[in-house]
Symmetry: C3
Subunit: 184 residues, 3 copies
């Protein structure tokens, strides 16, 4: 009979431990999952009013109003793109995607992304920071979520990016499926 | 009576577990907290001797000695700034803040930061790496601490940044309150 | 006698806990260790066919085919470098190192690195993302591994970088000893 006390005690202790300690919640299914869209309109010398990104660096021989030859290798673009809940550029933004991308391959389209979602709406308050390689020509590709603040305090995860639409070399829309595997 | 043995055993096991495993120390109050200052003097064509940062990229139509119009949108600056324990530019540096910032909005001052504190003093030895959006006009703003080495091996946390002072568009000083929530 | 049941139960519970929860595996010896090499050939105006990286930004007064004076302060280079298992440039690549480096000091060679290993071979499938300061003149230096995908899902760690070889200012080879301390 006396043995029942420790069993109960163990349960209580383990429960207390897992409640008190966020790292105990780590798991292979996401602890949080958000899908958002962002919209990038590249400045091309003629669309100053609408453009949300600008080429700011280019390799020798290129200029800053036309993406470079050789798959844009060497271009750096800085952006401040609206984030929406659905795939409509004209939906009310719930935040901004801010950062940069680099075209970094000479024989195909790939980029490297460093950016942050700055979310400020009734849905979400806080930031989510991303980094990683984006092999653009693949249908879906994974980058790392390296940190967060506010609602996403200390979060980490994986973001699956898909090019949802593009028009010429001026507009593209990315669908970002953010799966957090470390929540606090 | 026999029930007391497992209770003690559970305590011992739980204690051993929490000692052996750094992730068990995760908590919502910081496991380490450091406040530091760094000092950025932007090259403006006339201050080569003192400048600690340089504009290295700009949007179409701008140059590299004057920050761009439209809230500096599209400028990238590279920096190697002294870090001090107090808010005095002339205090003995305890390390260098090295990396870059990007001005990334056309209708207000915001930047995106990627940089590392390289600390090398009796106070601290090691590096702390930061990434995130910096909405400069807000009094305080949070960015992510994505990694560390040396004294800050594998650390993660949140850094609260405040603009402690600025002079025109040449000098600014940031106060960085680094709260580590994951220590090893 | 009844006391033995809870003891066994505790073992089972603790084992289940540590199996189910990746964070329990955190430890100060690496949970995974990989050594790889990557090879950077900087475009100098004459080696377009072989070059794997390009200077895309420079401080006022410099150009994009010659690294800047003052220890290259202010240069940003974008790269897409082959990764090999050994220190031979001509070995079969097992992936690409993609990202950028910034020369960020005026009185010595230091850089800041943001890049991703994109691995795609029978050895490894997935990405590893790095960020940190690289004081090039030191024999070995540590940067942070801030995230991973695929085989390196959610991993974190420390990468020790050594300059394994260099030829003038055109070619350098880095040895990267990646120690993961957080595996999932």
């Amino acid at each position: 009979m006396g043995a029942k006390i420790p069993i109960l005690f163990v349960f209580v202790m383990l429960f207390a431990l897992s409640s008190a300690n966020p790292s105990m919640k780590k798991q292979y299914k996401p602890c949080k999952n958000i899908v958002l869209y962002f919209h990038d309109i590249i400045y091309n010398g003629m669309n100053a009013a609408n453009a949300t990104s600008s080429i700011v660096a280019a390799p020798h021989g290129s200029n800053l109003t036309i993406l470079a030859p050789q798959f844009h290798f060497g271009n750096i673009a800085v952006f401040d793109d609206p984030i929406t809940l659905d795939n409509n550029l004209h939906s009310k933004p719930i935040g901004r995607a801010q950062g940069f991308y680099i075209y970094d391959t000479k024989n195909t389209y790939t980029s490297w992304l460093g950016f942050t979602f700055v979310l400020n709406s009734t849905y979400h308050q806080g930031t989510i920071t991303f980094a990683g390689a984006d092999p653009i020509m693949q249908k879906s590709r994974d980058i790392s979520v390296t940190g967060g603040t506010g609602d996403f305090f200390m979060h980490r995860g994986i973001a699956t990016i898909m090019t949802d639409a593009f028009e010429g070399e001026v507009y593209f829309r990315l669908r970002v499926d953010i799966k957090f595997f470390e929540c606090w």
